[in-house]
């Protein structure tokens, strides 16, 4: 079982700002270092609702909510996921807290 899940939002705003390309690039970077997805899996997510601060990317179960992510930010994010680097702080905290809570609530199933 993989340890982490990375979700790239593919809601309308995120898509218009290039989340499709961002997803592909993220997957490429992760698979280059973790070809079996043993540590991290990357998936698309229909919409987080943080549209004002697109493109949004989340990391679960670490509960990191990245916003306004660009392709240039991805190597740093990947370094946190697969290396020793800390989360990329400058990309966190932009989304409304209730949006973030909703996402973790959906993923934190008691069942």
């Amino acid at each position: 079982m993989s340890q982490k899940l990375v979700y790239v939002c593919e809601g309308g705003d995120c898509t218009e700002r290039g989340s499709g390309d961002l997803f592909e690039k993220m997957r490429e970077l992760l698979l280059a270092r973790d070809p079996e997805e043993a540590q991290v899996r990357v998936r698309r997510y229909p919409c987080f609702g943080g549209c004002e601060v697109a493109i949004n990317v989340t990391v679960y179960p670490d509960k990191i909510f990245y916003s306004q992510v660009t392709p240039e930010d991805l190597p740093e994010i990947v370094e946190n996921l697969l290396g020793d680097a800390a989360p990329v702080e400058r990309l966190t905290g932009a989304v409304q807290p209730d949006v973030e809570e909703m996402v973790w609530m959906l993923l934190d199933s008691p069942y």
């Binding site: 079982m1 993989s2 899940l5 593919e10 809601g11 309308g12 705003d13 898509t15 218009e16 499709g20 390309d21 997803f23 592909e24 899996r41 998936r43 698309r44 229909p46 919409c47 609702g49 549209c51 679960y60 409304q96 209730d98 949006v99 909703m102 609530m105 959906l106 993923l107 934190d108 199933s109 008691p110 069942y111």
Partner: protein, 471 residues
Amino acid sequence: MSQVDLEARIPNNVGLREDKRLLRALEKWQPAFIDWWKDTGPSDFNADQIYLRTAIGVGKGGWAHFDYVKMPDYRWGIFLADPVVDRKIHFGDHIGESIWNDVPGEMRNRLRRLIVTQGDTEPASVEQQRLLGHTAPSLYDMRSLFQVNAEEGRHLWAMVYLLHSYFGADGRDEADALLERRSGDEDSPRILEAFNKPITTWLDFFCFTTFTDRDGKYQLAALAESSFDPLARTTQFMLTEEAYHMQTGENGVGRIIHRCAELMHAGEDPRKVGAIPLDIVQRYINEWASASMDLFGGEDSTNAAESFASGLKGRYREGDGIYKDPKALEHSYKAEVPEGDHMVEKEIPLRRAMNALLLDSYVADCQRIVSRWNRDLERQQIDFRIVLPSKRFNRHQGIYSSACFTPQGELVDAEAWNSQREVWLPSQADRDYVESCMVAVREPGKFANWISPPPRGVNDQPLDFEFVKFH
């Protein structure tokens, strides 16, 4: 990445050229679909050029090709997400077994019913919305409506492909019946009640795309987990398109609220200038949110348990491995249910509570949207707050349907409920007023007075872009 055949009469990535029998069957169904579209799709705009997004592939950006097209010439195609190599069943009784590329005999009827029920909603919504183009508040919104309609038509194609491919003569009959039923028809209505209500105003349309299409998101997400791989791959791709529909609704209601708040902030009475007051918006939200919650079905459901156990329908994002118990045998779901004049706690075995779990995910998503609208009201210094009605309010399906509840979820008697009905749900006067606001605006870049412009046009076009070119 699968090969997309864009030159075929029916664009597809399912190798239709190699399956002559299926190709012939679908090519026979195609003219009936076009006739249905012309008869019951958007009225009077079939000769106009619409700036539409057309799916041309399943890879990155493949579904986001924009160009002008006359709606009957839209290239409705059949697209499945690419298969996952060696995918195994990941929930229910068959966990660990290989996924199915054909329908197991014993699941045939259940699976067909799931596909037909989902498929029936697609043409139904197009029928419900067929007259809205005439009162579009802008060319931008008119384009959005037709985009949603065209993509619901494509989703119908997706379900019809499954029926034709995997269910033989029965499937073909069901595919024909999808074009025969009509939204609101007394003799041959659509299957689900929310899809038989006419959508006559844009406030209804935006509420529908916010709340009812969002039910679709969760149903499709549950089917995207299916052990029947063609269904899982079909619905995965549909979800990509559905995101646009939900955003159309969320932004649409948000723009109505924004416009009203803007006028109130400026000291104007929204009613005197043809805008829609917030209390009316709230009543429409109460109506559409509660009707959409009914679409999830009973919270305690043996049907839902069997669909989960047999691997046909999973929980939201089941495949991501976020659930502790993939067989759902070890837990129960606690719900407060009415018993006489009070509420009692009931434990529902988890498998039987699959609809309730999916509904809870939906409610959290809706709450997030309402919070977004309220942040805008706060920014504009307006005291009014939109409230998402309790999942107990105005229910006609499930464990709350036998009693009356306020929008806050308090149990009340029928007399008390009826006395407040027009405070909580739209009255005829509300409907008449909203209808009176619906005036067509067709000048590029202009918007009706009851709705704010969006921040930008679709596909990064300017707001005064000619999204619809009239013939």
